[in-house]
Amino acid sequence: MEILVILIPVSLLLGGAGLLFFVWTVKSNQYDDPDGDAQRILSGQWDDHPKP
């Protein structure tokens, strides 16, 4: 059962990282235009290099 000492903090850290990631997506306005984002994938415009 000693393995729990490692496993529980690890699971909490991973979950926490996911939460922080989500907070970042909210703060950087990534849910403002879900329909647009779904369509923009289909555009080949920035396939070769990212938008400057």
């Binding site: 909210v26 950087s28 235009d33 369509q39 923009r40």
Partner: protein, 728 residues
């Protein structure tokens, strides 16, 4: 852990949509202008890139981004870029575009409350998942020191999350208690806090049962309901604001002979305002110069334009049809007759405020019931065992089991599904209880002008006149922007007529047009001008030389889907009534065409209101459909109300539902959808009740373990959500 918005966001509303561009804009020029365009027809990736390419290539534009969800483009450009030019550029590549008033829109772009709820929901979800993981280990057999450790870790996660995520409930509950009332949030708050307190107590005594997972799951499910509810209302609000923003309020101010474009809000009493044909009066005033005809349909429902000349008083909301006017403002802003008329709305008792929503009805029964049940269990078990710990544990279990997870989701899940469905059909649900009220209606009252009809005239007696005369009329009409003239040109062209050759064509604003044809003077215009007797019907008169004037009569065209909507509503058993401010013959003709037997003409706004109130007093649930300012009082007094998007702002504000397209047919479908939605809500309440009937006896008997509580709670919430989804 809230989502703080950047300060100064109101000065740069859509910067939040493009943070990188914001930084760029601040380096470049501090005074970048913000322009917003509405793009109702875009729908795909190709549309997005086409529009963005055109806008970004336009000289002076620094950044343009299309938002497909809101069908809008936000543009940062140097101040000398005119919005009209951008609209033209987008139209040139084949997309419909309209300018939006950035001032009206700024409120929607900072969606602070929505982000706040989403953040609390995410934190609660994260914590609930982790604690559930630990709880499952406990339920599957972890014992002694391991169980205690798991409980303590759960407590460690739960405590801060409950403090943060539960805040919306605590605030609402406190607000209700302070006013001596009970609402849904009081039992919710009590259940969450009691669950945490008893669990902490149990954990400290190394007890077997802790409800940390239940407290978190409760918070998560209830927040999900709140968020759904909020999203539905936010989408409706932003679409409603977009409609308002489509009317960019600008006026032409005359100062020292110079014309300048200023926002309507800056106009003052005594200012001279220039109004071109087609423009709507922004103020009350007196005509100083110019003659014209005014369209007062929005204020009174009359379809026949009224003549106006110098010295005549005019009211805000009237539309200038033919001549250029100079008007001296006598009242601006809140003092205009437009606003005074809107004040009638405040007097009319709103159908909305009288209605108690199904959720509130349920809460009224539920909230006291739960407290009494849980209190009785506590007292009963205390006297049975003389042990506070056991009694408190059971009271907490009762509260957790009865907690309105399913109830909290029952209404928002259904309204979200129904509103989404109606929105795709072009109906915007503005009020939270609109669907429930719409489901109850048994009487529908229609306004005529602009609601059942399009408000644009059509020539009706083209073939009663010699083709030669019509050719002359067409030629004369071609020189004017008056709606009747345009109707003559359209009708003539449709009948294959060629306009006659006319020289010395001139328009007399307010009277008509005249010219020379084969050596004779020809006139087309008002009855009095050509020497004829004015009748009740909308008409223009044509005089050739000194001959007898010919009467050209006009009727108002039916709006698309009007006949279908009326027929379907009748089929559904609704009593259909038409009340109009227009003259009797026009109203009678339309009533006969649509098969409406109950109609009333020449009704004043107060009479419309009185009729609605009389119907309500007789026990009818009235749906009012109207667009004019003369309908606003009736719209707010009715049990439910609908207005078309072309309606005045005041009428749209007063109504629960806005029809976005020009078609009236969705009204009948909306009533059906509303009835289906209300059925689903009641079904959901039944599901929630059945689950309580099964689970509550277990809880009261002290047989409810945390595992049973978690299962029952999740199952009922999922059942209710799935049932709501069946509506699609």
């Amino acid at each position: 852990m809230t989502a703080p918005m950047r300060p100064g966001i109101s000065a740069c509303p859509a910067c939040s949509a493009a943070p990188a561009a914001q930084a760029l804009a601040h380096q470049d020029t501090v005074l970048d202008a913000r322009i917003a365009l509405s793009l109702p027809t875009i729908h795909c990736a190709a549309c997005i890139s086409a529009v963005e390419d055109v806008l970004n290539a336009y000289p002076g534009v620094h950044n343009a981004r299309v938002n497909l969800t809101m069908k809008r483009a936000s543009i940062e450009a140097s101040p000398d870029v005119m919005p009209d030019a951008l609209v033209r550029a987008v139209r040139a590549i084949g997309y419909e575009a309209h300018e939006l008033d950035a001032g009206t829109l700024s409120a929607t772009t900072t969606d602070k409350a929505g982000r706040d709820l989403l953040m609390r929901l995410a934190v609660a979800g994260f914590a609930a998942m982790n604690v559930m993981l630990l709880s499952v280990s406990v339920w599957s057999g972890a014992a002694d020191a391991t169980r205690d450790m798991f409980h303590w870790i759960s407590a460690l996660i739960t405590m801060p999350v409950i403090v943060f995520s539960g805040q919306p409930f605590y605030r609402n509950a406190w607000a209700a208690l302070r006013h001596g009332r009970l609402n849904m949030d009081v039992p919710i708050t009590l259940a969450i806090l009691l669950a945490v307190i008893t669990s902490l107590w149990e954990t400290s005594l190394s007890g077997a049962h802790a409800y940390f997972d239940a407290a978190l799951a409760l918070t998560f499910f209830l927040l999900a309901g709140r968020y759904l509810d909020y999203r539905t209302r936010a989408i409706a609000r932003s679409a409603a604001e977009e409609l308002a923003a489509l009317e960019v309020p600008r006026a032409f101010l005359l100062k020292d002979g110079q014309e300048t474009q200023v926002p309507v809000a800056q106009l003052a009493v005594g200012d001279l305002i220039r109004l071109r044909p087609g423009g709507r009066l922004p103020v009350d005033g007196v005509i100083v110069d110019g003659q014209t005809e005014l369209d007062r349909a929005m204020l009174t429902g009359e379809t026949v334009p009224v003549f106006a000349g110098p010295g005549q008083a005019v009211s805000a909301g009237e539309v200038n049809l033919t001549g250029v006017l100079t008007v001296r403002a006598t009242a601006v802003g809140q003092d205009t007759s437009l606003h005074r008329m809107a004040d009638l709305v405040a007097i009319a008792e709103s159908g909305r405020s009288r209605y108690t929503s199904l959720a509130d009805q349920a809460a009224k029964l539920y909230a006291p019931g739960v407290h009494i049940l849980s209190g009785l269990s506590f007292v009963g078990w205390y006297f049975y065992t003389w042990d506070v710990r056991t009694a408190l544990n059971i009271a907490a279990a009762v509260l957790i089991i009865t907690c309105p997870c399913a109830l909290g989701l029952a209404v928002p899940a259904v309204t979200t599904a129904a509103s989404g469905r109606l929105f795709r059909r072009g109906m915007l649900i503005k009020d939270a209880t609109a669907l429930e009220r719409l489901a109850q209606i048994d009487t529908v009252v229609f306004d005529k002008t602009g609601t059942l009809t399009q408000g644009t005239p059509v020539l009706t007696n083209l073939h009663n006149h010699p083709p030669q005369a019509m050719a002359v009329a067409m030629a004369l009409a071609a020189g004017s922007a008056h709606p009747l003239s345009q109707a003559i040109v359209r009708a003539g062209a449709a009948a294959g007529l060629e306009p006659a050759q006319i020289s010395a064509l001139q328009e007399r604003p307010g009277y008509g047009t005249m010219g020379q044809w084969q050596g004779q003077t020809v006139r087309l215009g008002r009855a009095a001008w050509v020497g004829a007797q004015a009748g009740a019907q909308t008409s223009a008169w044509l005089q050739i030389g000194t001959g007898a004037p010919l009467q050209l009569t006009f009727a108002d065209n039916l709006r698309a889907g009007a006949a279908q909507a009326v027929a379907e509503l009748k089929q559904q058993g609704c009593n259909v009534i038409m009340i109009s401010g227009d003259a009797t013959p026009a109203v009678a003709a339309l009533a006969a065409e649509l098969g409406i037997t109950d109609w009333q003409a020449e009704a004043l706004p107060a009479e419309k209101l009185a009729r609605i109130e009389a119907l309500s007093a007789a026990g009818h649930k009235v749906l009012m459909v109207g667009d004019g300012l003369n309908d606003t009082a009736a719209l707010s007094a009715a049990h439910a109300s609908i207005s078309p998007a072309s309606a005045l702002d005041a009428a749209r504000v007063a109504s629960d539902i806005v029809l976005l397209g020009g078609d009236l047919a969705p009204i009948a479908q909306a009533v059906q959808t509303a009835r289906a939605a209300t059925r689903r809500i009641r079904e959901n309440f039944t599901v929630a009740t059945v689950y309580n009937i099964v689970a509550v006896p277990l809880a009261v008997a002290g047989l409810c373990s945390p595992l049973i509580a978690a299962l029952a709670m999740s199952l009922s919430s999922i059942t209710v959500s799935l049932n709501a989804l069946r509506l699609r």
